[in-house]
Assembly symmetry: C2
Homo-oligomer: 730 residues x 2
């Protein structure tokens, strides 16, 4: 059944992995610079490894427990459940591997980038960006590799079935590999987010505010933990997040394609391959894009941004053209409409990124107003930041609404009839794949940020010359801009992916009907019997909006978002408190530290952040995994349907609110530091520093963790679908 | 068709209005005290009147415009639309009247309460509470009066119809009178909320923080505006909010009753009367409860709370017993189950109030932790307050989920079959009526708070003796506790009411089918033809959760909540800024003010708050009215259904989050002021003052305004149902 064109998928995976290896090797050939640069880099690298090792230990235990639960409770949990534990484990394994390689590359790169900046800006930019590309390419390469392996294996092992049910079954099983990626991403995002902000807030509250020493001062005991935090939060966390989105969007769309074209097996395989092929072509194009990024000496901030933009924009344009021919080649009916959905997804991703930039960059009014509020004190800075953050959620929501409506309409040829529902949902999935198709290069720009940041920190700590620091500052500042748009991209892709996953959830429900009733071939009025019953069950009598079970589900979905955000927010507070105590202790017990005569105990701070993050990540993670199961047991499929929509809608809005409020506070502070409204050291500056500290857990812990929550809750529902279908109380 | 027992409704209305008049007259017999007390009271009274006059002018214009739109676009807008403009206007008129009387009573009472406290605590308590009861009883009295009038009028004018459709039509028209109450409440809550916090934040930022003078110091130019704000925000705003909930819950439940018992006309009229009768009996019981509130001299805070609690709890217990006999008398099938739903509603209201108290009172851990965070500065106070506020939303959401599930199950006799759907939704409506049945007395405790607060302000400004101020402080402090639980009650009732309204929205859709197809009598398999088509349309092919129009609606509903909250939040910031400028100007231009030799220009500050509130309330109000119409035009009924559920679920969570975070910050500050963590003037105190200022717009502007948003958007959808049914684009 496997079509020969399928082999483009493993091939592109190998290409991506080859270039990841190539960029890594190239980077390693560069020198790390002076002894002190090497020493600082080693501290950060060891801290990051220590954290990742510790986290993976915890994650392995959790994974084994979950896998055992899946195996023991196998009957009735889901579709063809004997494969589920393995698919689950493989998803987690590959995601962890990607995080490991990506972070290795980042931590080896920072001193080298600082050293390259001693010679030229272009050298520094290229090195930093290509080191970031290691993460980008490893992520997409391993996703495509895992997909390829499972597709071949399942094609071999799953027996033939009537009326297109074999591909439905295969894709339904493959989707559960996303659950492994989700669970791994949960710990990476939540743990990494708590780690990085505990270190950051702790370092700032004592170092900057109490002792008055600058950021990245080697006398600050928490400075290494802070630098490690950039890597575990922004590199490993972001990578795991997008690994999951990339995998889940492809797999959900494959399942939706299998369902939409179930009546024609020749078309069905093509519909299943379409998302895989688009992702593969996008990966190859991303490699080309990476090579386009370069700059000239003394380039302005704007030129630097243009250099990065060139790589991303050329890649996006190429994928628009290439995907049209892929779809034409696959000969799907209404391929132009499906292609329209891809374009819609790509545009939506860009539009959300731009709206993020408008609300968080100091070049625009919203952030400048927050800076101005600093003149009447911290309270007005906070009020205005929250107000602006809340308002800023509106535009991305409208963008997503427009995107799903257009994707649906294009893919159905402007038809809202229920008979076209599956085709329309396939269109929504394809839009998510389109948005993520250039992930190889967009993730490179994300991972570039913390590398440049750490390079700057290294240069600062080692006291390199001012022209070097000007170069690292230029790279770092560029990284701040890409970080903001990158966050918008990550949230937007999470929302579209979650909606595609939600649609595929109903296909899993349908498969459970097949499993329990065991007669997929019988026809009623030309429709397979199972479908008629399924439609009756799901759409007609249960999953409508006046069913109190659905309403209860929606309310509980919103509850999950508020509870999860609140707990992660308070977790940072507690973990930071411990860091504050430790830093204060080191300063008071050894007065040589402040004089610069004695090196502080960096490792102790790294350990505190690591332990704090491990401890604090357990409760929110448990909530995210637990709620869908409980709601499924109490309220069944209608409750789950409501739950997931409640979580996705309010979680998306909350994530945007938090990311943008945090970003705006950060840049409002920087705007004052540039000399506006009194500049550094003024009352206004102090007020905006408080805003920035409040924003830290907003934008780097609670906000990004919500990306995972909205996907993971759907995934957990998909994997335990049998519980909701068969064992619910109400 | 009108049953003789119906006349209990107008009778109870007259009883409520009589006692409101009686309490008002009794209060007016008391002396206002010294000349300076009279002068201060007059300032506040004139300021409040000026604001209300100004607001009503704006509201009248808006009402006339909307009424004209209803008349011009009459065809197709809704059910029997020729009555809609009048029902709309009457709802607004009676709500405005209630606000006018309630605020008159409050502003006449404050000096008299202060004066009564010169003699005894019991005298002060009784006077304050009974003055608050004027508001409570006017609200319930006028709601019941309006309902009685319309029920009689429509019974007379609406022609007879087959199969129970006459009562459906009457109740469907009556529901639109809630739209008038909603619109009036919107302006009262949003305008009042902006007014009160602009004045409060402005007075505090300059007076307390810059000039270091105490709260309620007569030298502060904004002090009168601040006192006026308590009246327009907490009396008029709260009153209009609950006027709407009370009216809408009764009217929605009447319509749901007409639908649930459409197959038996004898039962149908009883099901329609049930909510009205329960509200009427509750009103009479509330009057009894008011008389129970009294205390002894030197009563502790706990005893005072018990005095109020006695009135409320006895009323609630009596209504539990009385409603059982009412339902038994009405002879509804499964009346014990319906009675169970009433009890569920009452318990839910109490439980939400208690959860609010736990998260906001300084006697419990959450608020104390926020106080403790003050030791590491304002940033941690804000982070922890937001975290705690977000977490605190979880419990009320679980309470509401439990309440609607149980109410549904009780009312259907534990049956989730779609044939029982209408009976179950009637149960949810009845639960909302149960929650609100004791409104006469619970609203008295709400209005009592600002009266006691203003009495304290009056005593402070007039320099009355310390034993007087001890008494007013005791009354004021009691008011702070009732304010927190009152807010929880208001939000909980808004959520349940909104869900009942949502259920009735679908009945309005059904009525539109009757109107357009004009053959309500035809039967298919024993079901009226219209119903079969209606069920097909609404539940089967449109309003299911995988319809992208529904998903778009849910996302837009969440968007409305975030946008509305953000705009009202920033509105307070802008209005407060103007107040800050004016207060600074007065202090600098006339140095005699600070010396106490010259009276500041209070009127100018009152005017600034008034104008600021009028200006800033327009945009959020427009959004609330506009979004449902646009979504109806674009996405039709499925879009509206999603929109409303998105708004209700996320709006409820956001309202609880904001109210509780704000309340917790307020009390965390007070806890520090009591001498903990350094006490007044310490760094920790400063940090918590900043938290309190941030919390002001949370708990008194954006939070309470969301109560209105979630009800108004359903109401606007109900009134324009014809647009969504017939003129949608997609």
């Amino acid at each position: 059944m496997i079509n020969s064109i399928f082999f483009v998928v493993p091939l592109s995976s190998l290409i991506a992995l080859f270039f990841a290896w190539f960029f890594f090797k190239q980077m390693m050939k560069n020198s790390e610079g002076t002894d002190s640069m090497k020493r600082i880099a080693k501290h950060v690298r060891e801290g990051a490894s220590a954290y990742l090792n510790q986290q993976y230990k915890v994650v392995i235990v959790v994974f084994l427990i979950i896998a055992v639960i899946f195996s023991v409770l196998a009957y009735g949990l889901g579709v063809q459940n004997k494969w589920v534990p393995f698919a689950f484990l493989s998803g987690g394994f590959f995601s962890a591997l990607a995080g490991y390689f990506g972070m290795k590359a980042a931590t080896y790169a920072s001193a080298r980038v600082a050293n390259a900046c001693r010679t030229s800006l272009d050298g520094g930019l290229k090195l930093a960006f290509r080191s970031g590309a290691v993460m980008g390419l490893v992520v997409v390469g391993l996703v495509l590799l895992d997909i390829s392996l499972w597709f071949v294996i399942l094609n071999f092992f799953i027996e033939e079935m009537a009326s297109g049910y074999k591909l439905m079954t295969i894709t339904a099983i493959m989707l559960t590999f996303g659950m492994g990626a989700s669970t791994q991403a949960l710990f990476a995002r939540v743990g990494g987010g708590i780690y990085t902000k505990a270190a950051d807030v702790g370092a700032d509250l004592v170092g900057k505010i109490e002792e008055g020493i600058p950021e990245d001062d080697p006398r600050n005991p928490a400075v290494i933990a802070d630098n490690v935090g950039d890597n575990v939060g922004d590199v490993a966390g972001m990578g795991a997040d997008l690994f999951e989105s990339f995998a889940a969007s492809i797999l959900a769309t494959a399942l939706l394609g299998a369902a939409a074209f179930i009546d024609n097996e020749a078309l069905q395989i093509n519909a299943v391959l379409a998302p895989m092929l688009i992702a593969s072509i996008g990966t190859i194009i991303s490699v080309i894009g990476v090579f386009l990024v370069r700059t000239r000496e003394g380039a302005s901030q704007k030129e630097l941004l243009k250099s990065l933009g060139l790589g991303v924009n050329v890649s996006a344009s190429l994928i628009v053209v290439a995907s049209f021919f892929v779809l034409k080649f696959l000969n799907l009916p209404n391929y132009a409409g499906i292609w329209g959905a891809i374009v819609v997804g790509l545009i939506a991703g860009i539009a959300i990124g731009q709206s993020t930039e408008y609300f968080t960059a100091s070049a625009y009014k919203p952030t400048r107003i927050i800076s101005k509020c600093g003149q009447t004190g911290p309270a007005t800075v906070i009020i205005n930041g929250i107000g602006t953050g809340l308002i800023s959620a509106a535009i991305p929501l409208i963008i997503i609404v427009t995107a799903i409506t257009l994707a649906f309409l294009f893919a159905t040829g402007f038809n809202f009839d229920i008979a076209y529902l599956n085709k329309g949902l396939y269109g929504i999935g394809i839009a998510a794949v389109g948005l993520l198709s250039t992930l190889g290069i967009t993730l490179a720009t994300d991972a570039y940020g913390p590398i440049a940041d750490n390079a700057g920190g290294n240069a600062e700590m080692c006291g390199l010359g001012s022209e070097v620091r000007d170069r690292t500052d230029a790279l770092d500042s560029l990284g701040n801009t890409t970080a903001a748009t990158g966050k918008g991209f990550a949230i937007g892709s999470a929302a579209l992916t979650a909606l595609a996953l939600l649609a595929s959830y109903f296909e899993e429900v349908r498969m459970m009907f097949v499993k329990f009733l065991d007669r997929p071939q019988e026809l009623i009025n030309g429709i397979p019997a199972i479908d008629a019953e399924f439609i009756d069950f799901v759409y007609h009598y249960e999953v409508h909006l006046m069913n109190p079970k659905v309403i209860a589900g929606i309310l509980l979905g919103v509850m999950a978002v508020f509870l999860f955000s609140g707990i992660t927010m308070n977790a940072v507070g507690r973990a930071a408190q411990k860091m504050v105590d430790e830093v204060r202790r080191q300063f008071s017990s050894n007065s040589d530290i402040m004089k610069g005569k004695s090196e502080p105990d960096y490792a102790r701070c790294v350990e505190i952040s690591t332990k704090g993050a491990q401890k604090e990540m357990m409760l929110p993670s448990f909530i995210a995994l637990f709620i869908p199961v409980v709601v499924g047991i109490v309220f069944g499929v209608p409750g789950i349907a409501g739950l997931l929509l409640g979580t996705i809608s309010s979680g998306f809005a909350m994530a945007i609110f938090m990311a943008n409020a945090g970003g705006a506070w950060d840049n409002a502070k920087k705007y004052v530091e540039e000399g506006n409204y009194g500049g550094k050291g003024s009352e206004c500056h102090n007020a905006t520093v408080i805003g920035d500290t409040v924003g830290d857990p907003f934008k780097d812990t609670s906000g990004p963790s919500l990306n995972i929550l909205i996907k993971l809750m759907v995934m957990a529902s998909v994997v335990t679908v049998g519980v909701a279908v068969s064992y619910h109380l109400l």
